[in-house]
C-alpha cells in the first residue's frame, strides 16, 4: 500500500519547487506582451534563488531515499545541485541582453532552461537507472530545442539536428547497456545492482557488453574522444548564451551521471571501465589540445579545449578511489565555472548584429577594457592550469590521484599535452594584450552583467588563492 509518506517528498523539495516554477513561468509568459518579457526573466531568477535556498536548507548527513528508492539525496547531490542552479542563474544573467539584441528574448528560453535544470537535478539525485534516464532525456530535449532557438540561423538548425541525432543514438546505447545489466542483475536500482554485481564472479561477457554500451553512451554525453564529434558543431552553431549553458551546468550533471552509474553501481567492474577510460582520456587530451591549435573561431576553440578538459576529468575518475572522484569533482566544478566565464566574455563583446566569436575580435581588448581583459586573462590561464588560478589546483588534484594509483606515465602524458594546450591559450592572451584593437568601440553592457562577469572571473582567482574549502567539500562528498 503506497502512502504519501513513503514517497518522502520533503527531500525532493527543490526539484518539486523547480517543476512548479517552470510550469508557472510557462503559463505566465503566455499572457505577457513582448515588451514586458522582463517579468519572465525576473520570475525565473527569483525562483532560482528560492531553489538555492531550498537546497541549502537540506544538509543530509547520510543517504536519504525518496520515491521508493528512485531518488537519493546525499552531500554529493546537494553540492552538485547547488553548483548547477548557480551556474544556470549566471547563464540567465548573461543571456538577457544577448537575446534582446537578436529579437529572441522569448519566455521559452527561460522555460527550457529551467526544465533542463530540472533534468540535471534529477540526474544528480537519481538512484535508479530509470530516473537517471528520465533526467537525462529531460535535459537533452531541452538542450536540443535551445540549440535551435535562433531559428533564422541555419548554423543553429544544423547544429541542433546533429546534436539531436547523435544524442538520440547515445541515449539508445545507454538504454541498451542498461537493459543488459538489468538482464544480469535483475534490478535497475543502483544500490541493488551494485550488490548483485558483487555476487557475480568471473568474466561475464553479457555484463561487459552492457558496460561497454553504457560507457559509450556516457562518453557521448560527456564528449570524450572518439565520441566528441558533436561538440565543436554544437558549441559553434548555438547562440552563445546557449553555448554557455551547455558548457557549464550539464558538465556537472554529466559528472554525477558517471559517478552514479559507474562508480556507485558498477564499482566492482572498475578495472574493466578503467581500461576504457584510459584510452578515451588519452585520446581526448591529444585530439582536444592538438586540434584546438588550428581553430580561429573562439567557440570552436573552447569546444576542443572542453574535450581536452573532459580527458582530464576522466583521468580523475579512472583512479577509481575517493581521491580520484573528489579530484574529478573539483575539476568539473571549477571547469564549469571557468568555461562559463569564458563564454561570458564572448557574450560581453557581442553587439547587435555582431558576433564576437573570432579570435581576432578580441584584439586589443586591453585597450578597450583593461578590467575585462584581466578577467579573461585569469580565465584563460586557469584553463591552461597556471597558478595562482584554480585550474592549477584542479590539475594538481587529478595528477595526484593518478600518481597515487601508480600510473606515473599517464600523469606525464597529461602534463605533456597540457604544454601543447598552453599554446592556444597564450594566443588568446596575445591578441588581447599585444595587438591593437580592430574595433575601438566602447564596450557597453548592463550593470548586472558586469557584476556577474567580474564575480565569475574573480572567483576563479580567489578559489585559486584559497582552494582548501571547496577541496574539502569535494573530499567529504565521497567520504
Amino acid at each position: 500500500m503506497m502512502t504519501l509518506e513513503m514517497l518522502n517528498l520533503s527531500i525532493a523539495m527543490p526539484e518539486l519547487f523547480l517543476l512548479a516554477l517552470a510550469c508557472t513561468v510557462l503559463v505566465v509568459d503566455v499572457y505577457l506582451k513582448d515588451e514586458r518579457r522582463n517579468v519572465t526573466y525576473v520570475l525565473s531568477q527569483f525562483g532560482l534563488i528560492i531553489t538555492l535556498i531550498l537546497i541549502s536548507q537540506q544538509s543530509p548527513q547520510s543517504r536519504e531515499l525518496a520515491f521508493n528508492g528512485l531518488f537519493v539525496n546525499d552531500l554529493l547531490a546537494t553540492v552538485l545541485k547547488y553548483a548547477a542552479v548557480l551556474l544556470v542563474a549566471v547563464v540567465f544573467v548573461y543571456s538577457r541582453r544577448y537575446l534582446q539584441d537578436r529579437n529572441i528574448f522569448k519566455g521559452e528560453f527561460y522555460v527550457l532552461g529551467l526544465f533542463g535544470l530540472l533534468g540535471m537535478m534529477v540526474m544528480i539525485s537519481s538512484n535508479h537507472f530509470l530516473s537517471m534516464y528520465l533526467g537525462l532525456e529531460l535535459l537533452s530535449l531541452s538542450l536540443y530545442a535551445m540549440v535551435a532557438f535562433d531559428r533564422e540561423n541555419p548554423n543553429a538548425a544544423e547544429a541542433a539536428m546533429k546534436y539531436f541525432i547523435l544524442g538520440a543514438i547515445a541515449s539508445g546505447m545507454l538504454l541498451y547497456g542498461m537493459s543488459m545489466v538489468y538482464g544480469m542483475t535483475g534490478s535497475l536500482n543502483i544500490v541493488e545492482v551494485a550488490v548483485a554485481l558483487d555476487q557475480i564472479e568471473g568474466n561475464n561477457i553479457v555484463l561487459i557488453f552492457g558496460l561497454v554500451f553504457m560507457v559509450i553512451g556516457l562518453s557521448f554525453k560527456l564528449g570524450a574522444v572518439p565520441f566528441h564529434m558533436w561538440i565543436p558543431d554544437v558549441y559553434h552553431g548555438s547562440p552563445t548564451t546557449v553555448t554557455s549553458y551547455i558548457a557549464s551546468a550539464p558538465k556537472v550533471a554529466g559528472f554525477a551521471m558517471i559517478i552514479r552509474l559507474l562508480a556507485e553501481s558498477m564499482g566492482s567492474l572498475q578495472t574493466d571501465w578503467q581500461g576504457m577510460f584510459i584510452i578515451m582520456a588519452v585520446l581526448s587530451m591529444i585530439v582536444g589540445n592538438v586540434i584546438a591549435i588550428a581553430q580561429t573561431n573562439l567557440k570552436r576553440l573552447f569546444a576542443y579545449s572542453t574535450i581536452s578538459h573532459v580527458g582530464f576529468i576522466m583521468l580523475g575518475l579512472l583512479a577509481g578511489n575517493q581521491e580520484g572522484y573528489s579530484a574529478a569533482m573539483f575539476y568539473t566544478l571549477t571547469y564549469a565555472l571557468t568555461s562559463l566565464g569564458a563564454f561570458g566574455v564572448i557574450i560581453l563583446l557581442t553587439r547587435k548584429g555582431f558576433e564576437a566569436e573570432n579570435i581576432d575580435d578580441f584584439k586589443g581588448l586591453n585597450q578597450r577594457s583593461p578590467w575585462f581583459a584581466f578577467i579573461m586573462l585569469i580565465i584563460v590561464f586557469s584553463m591552461a592550469g597556471v597558478p595562482p588560478t584554480v585550474g592549477f589546483w584542479a590539475k594538481l588534484a587529478v595528477l595526484k590521484a593518478v600518481v597515487n594509483i601508480d600510473m606515473l606515465w599517464l600523469a606525464l602524458l597529461a602534463v605533456f599535452f597540457s604544454i601543447i594546450g598552453i599554446f592556444y591559450y597564450l594566443r588568446i592572451v596575445k591578441v588581447m594584450y599585444f595587438d591593437d584593437a580592430l574595433d575601438k568601440s566602447e564596450i557597453n553592457c548592463s550593470r548586472d552583467m558586469q557584476i556577474a562577469l567580474s564575480a565569475n572571473g574573480l572567483s576563479v582567482l580567489l578559489l585559486g588563492l584559497y582552494p582548501a574549502a571547496l577541496m574539502s567539500i569535494c573530499i567529504a562528498a565521497f567520504a
Partner: protein
C-alpha cells in the same frame, strides 16, 4: 630593527598588493602618481629586506624568519616561508634590482606606465616568494605565476618580434616545469609531505633519483639557461624592454641556479653524482662555445644575453664539480667543495649586478638612438664621456677584472675546479680571455674611435636619474669585488649544511 615582524610575508605581499594598487591608480591624468607610488613601494620593500640581513643569524644553517600556516589541509600544503644563507642574499638582490628597474622605466615607458610598474612589482613579490617558499607546492605556485607578468612585460612593451619571443619564453619555461610538478607529487607520496626540508631527508632508490633528477634538470636547466635549452634567452632579451631584460638576467636566471641548490643537489645527490659529467659538459659548452657565439654578435643585447649564458655556465659548473672534487683523492677535506659552491653563489649575486648594469647601459643607448646594432654606434665617448666611463667599468667587470665582483665568483669556481680536474679548469678559464674579448671589443666599437654618424654626434650624456642608477650599480660591483666577505659569511654555514646533504647517499 624589524625584529619580530613577519618579514617574509611582508616582503612577498607588499609588492604584490602595492602592484595591484599601482594598477588601480591607472594612467588617466598622467602616470606620475603611479610611478611615484611604485618607487615608494619598491624602496619600502628594499628597506624591509635589509631587515633580513641585519637580523640574520649566520651561525646556524636552520631556516630563519620561518612562518608556517596550513593552506590546503587536505593536500598537506602549507603556507611556509623561511630563508637560509643561500636564499637571503638572492632576496636582497631582487629587491635591489627592482628599484633600479622602476627608475630605469621612469621616462622611457609612456605607454600604459601604471601597468608596466605594476607588473614589475607583482613580479618582485612572486620572485621573493620563490626564494623563500619552503613548501614545494607553494614554491611551484610562485615559480609558475612568475611567468604571467613576464609574459605580459615582454609582449606589451617589447620590440618588433616580441610576440614570438614571449611565447617561446613561456612555452620553454612551462615545458621544463611541469615535469618537476609530477616529480614533486611523486615525492609527496614517498615522504608524506610537500615540505622541501622533508624531501631533503627522503631515501630514494637510484631509478627514482635519476628520474627526479632529470625532471629537476628540465625545469632548472631551462631557467638558468644551460646549453642546449638556452635558445629562448637571446630572443627574450632582445625583444624585452630594458627593465624586462634586467629582471630576466639579474634574477630569473638565478632562480634556476637556486633550484639546483635547493632541490636537485640535496634531494637526489646520488643521481647528481652519476650524471655530474653531463652537467659539467653542458656548462663547459656554455662557457666556451657560447662565448664564441657572443663574439660574433652584431646586436648588443644579444651579445650580453649570450655572455649571460656563459657566465651562468660557471654557476652550474661550480655546483656540480663538487662530486669530482670530493672524489679526487688529493683532497683531504671538503674546503674545495665549499669553495665551489660558494663561488657559484657569489657568481650568481655578482652576475645579478653586472648583467643588470650591462642591460641598463644598453638601455641608456637604446633610449637615445633606438638601435641596438653595434654598427650604428662609434665614438660615443666623445659625446657621452661620463656614460662611457661607467660603460667601460661595467664591461671590465663583465670580463672579470680583479677588483670587481665579476672576478671573485669566477676565480673561486676556477680555483675549486682545479682541485677536481686540471683540464676542466683549463677550459673554464678560457672564459677569462673570451669574456674580455667579446665585451671589450664591443666597447671598442661602440665607444671609441671617430664619431661615425650624425646621430651619435647628437647624443646627450647621462641625466641625473641615469647617473644615480649607474653610480649605485658601480659602487655595488666594486664593493662586492673588493670585500666579498660579508656575502660569503652569511652563506658559509648553510653551504656546509648543503654539503652534508650532498655527500650523504640517499639510497635506501
Amino acid at each position: 630593527m624589524f625584529a619580530g615582524w613577519p618579514l617574509l610575508s611582508l616582503l612577498v605581499w607588499l609588492p604584490i598588493i602595492g602592484g595591484v594598487a599601482v594598477l588601480l591608480s591607472g594612467d588617466k591624468g598622467g602616470s606620475e602618481g603611479s610611478r611615484r607610488l611604485a618607487l615608494i613601494i619598491s624602496v619600502a620593500t628594499f628597506v624591509l629586506s635589509l631587515g633580513l640581513y641585519t637580523n640574520f643569524d649566520s651561525a646556524t644553517s636552520a631556516m630563519q624568519f620561518e612562518e608556517r600556516f596550513e593552506w590546503i589541509g587536505d593536500f598537506n600544503i602549507y603556507y611556509h616561508l623561511g630563508v637560509d644563507g643561500i636564499s637571503m642574499p638572492l632576496i636582497i638582490l631582487t629587491t635591489f634590482t627592482t628599484i633600479l628597474v622602476i627608475l630605469a622605466g621612469w621616462e622611457v615607458i609612456q605607454k600604459r606606465a601604471s601597468q608596466y610598474m605594476a607588473a614589475f612589482l607583482i613580479m618582485e613579490g612572486l620572485m621573493i616568494g620563490v626564494f623563500s617558499a619552503l613548501d614545494a607546492m607553494f614554491f611551484y605556485v610562485f615559480w609558475e605565476a612568475m611567468l604571467i607578468p613576464m609574459f605580459v612585460i615582454i609582449g606589451v612593451w617589447g620590440g618588433p618580434n616580441r610576440v614570438y619571443a614571449t611565447i617561446k619564453f613561456f612555452i620553454y619555461t612551462f615545458f621544463g616545469s611541469v615535469f618537476m610538478l609530477v616529480a614533486m607529487i611523486y615525492m609527496y607520496y614517498q615522504s608524506g609531505s610537500f615540505a622541501i626540508l622533508d624531501m631533503h631527508n627522503l631515501n630514494l632508490g637510484m631509478t627514482e633519483q635519476t628520474l627526479i633528477f632529470f625532471a629537476f634538470l628540465a625545469a632548472f636547466a631551462v631557467k638558468v639557461p644551460m646549453w642546449p635549452v638556452h635558445t629562448w634567452l637571446p630572443d627574450a632579451h632582445v625583444e624585452a624592454p630594458t627593465g624586462g631584460s634586467v629582471i630576466l638576467a639579474a634574477i630569473m636566471l638565478k632562480i634556476g641556479g637556486y633550484g639546483f641548490v635547493r632541490f636537485a643537489l640535496p634531494i637526489t645527490p646520488d643521481a647528481s653524482m652519476s650524471y655530474d659529467w653531463l652537467i659539467i659538459a653542458m656548462s663547459l659548452i656554455a662557457v666556451v662555445y657560447i662565448g664564441f657565439v657572443a663574439l660574433v654578435q652584431s646586436d648588443m643585447k644579444k651579445l650580453v644575453a649570450y655572455s649571460s649564458i656563459a657566465h651562468m655556465g660557471f654557476v652550474t659548473l661550480g655546483l656540480f664539480s663538487v662530486f669530482q672534487i670530493l672524489n679526487n683523492p688529493a683532497n683531504v677535506d671538503i674546503t674545495g667543495a665549499v669553495l665551489a659552491i660558494e663561488g657559484a653563489m657569489v657568481q650568481m649575486i655578482s652576475h645579478g649586478f653586472i648583467s643588470g648594469a650591462m642591460f641598463l647601459m644598453i638601455g641608456v643607448l637604446y633610449d637615445r638612438m633606438h638601435s641596438r646594432e653595434i654598427a650604428d654606434y662609434g665614438g660615443v665617448v666623445n659625446t657621452m664621456p661620463v656614460f662611457a666611463a661607467f660603460a667601460v667599468f661595467f664591461a671590465m667587470s663583465n670580463a672579470g677584472l680583479p677588483g670587481t665582483s665579476g672576478f671573485v665568483g669566477e676565480f673561486m669556481v676556477i680555483l675549486a675546479v682545479f682541485k677536481a680536474n686540471f683540464w676542466i679548469a683549463f677550459l673554464a678559464a678560457i672564459t677569462l680571455i673570451l669574456g674580455a674579448a667579446y665585451t671589450l671589443w664591443m666597447v671598442k666599437r661602440v665607444f671609441y674611435g671617430e664619431v661615425t654618424n650624425e646621430n651619435v654626434k647628437a647624443l646627450k650624456d647621462l641625466n641625473q636619474r641615469e647617473l644615480l642608477i649607474m653610480s649605485i650599480l658601480a659602487v655595488s660591483i666594486l664593493a662586492l669585488g673588493l670585500y666579498p666577505a660579508p656575502l660569503v659569511d652569511v652563506m658559509h654555514v648553510s653551504v656546509d649544511n648543503l654539503l652534508q646533504h650532498i655527500t650523504q647517499s640517499k639510497l635506501p
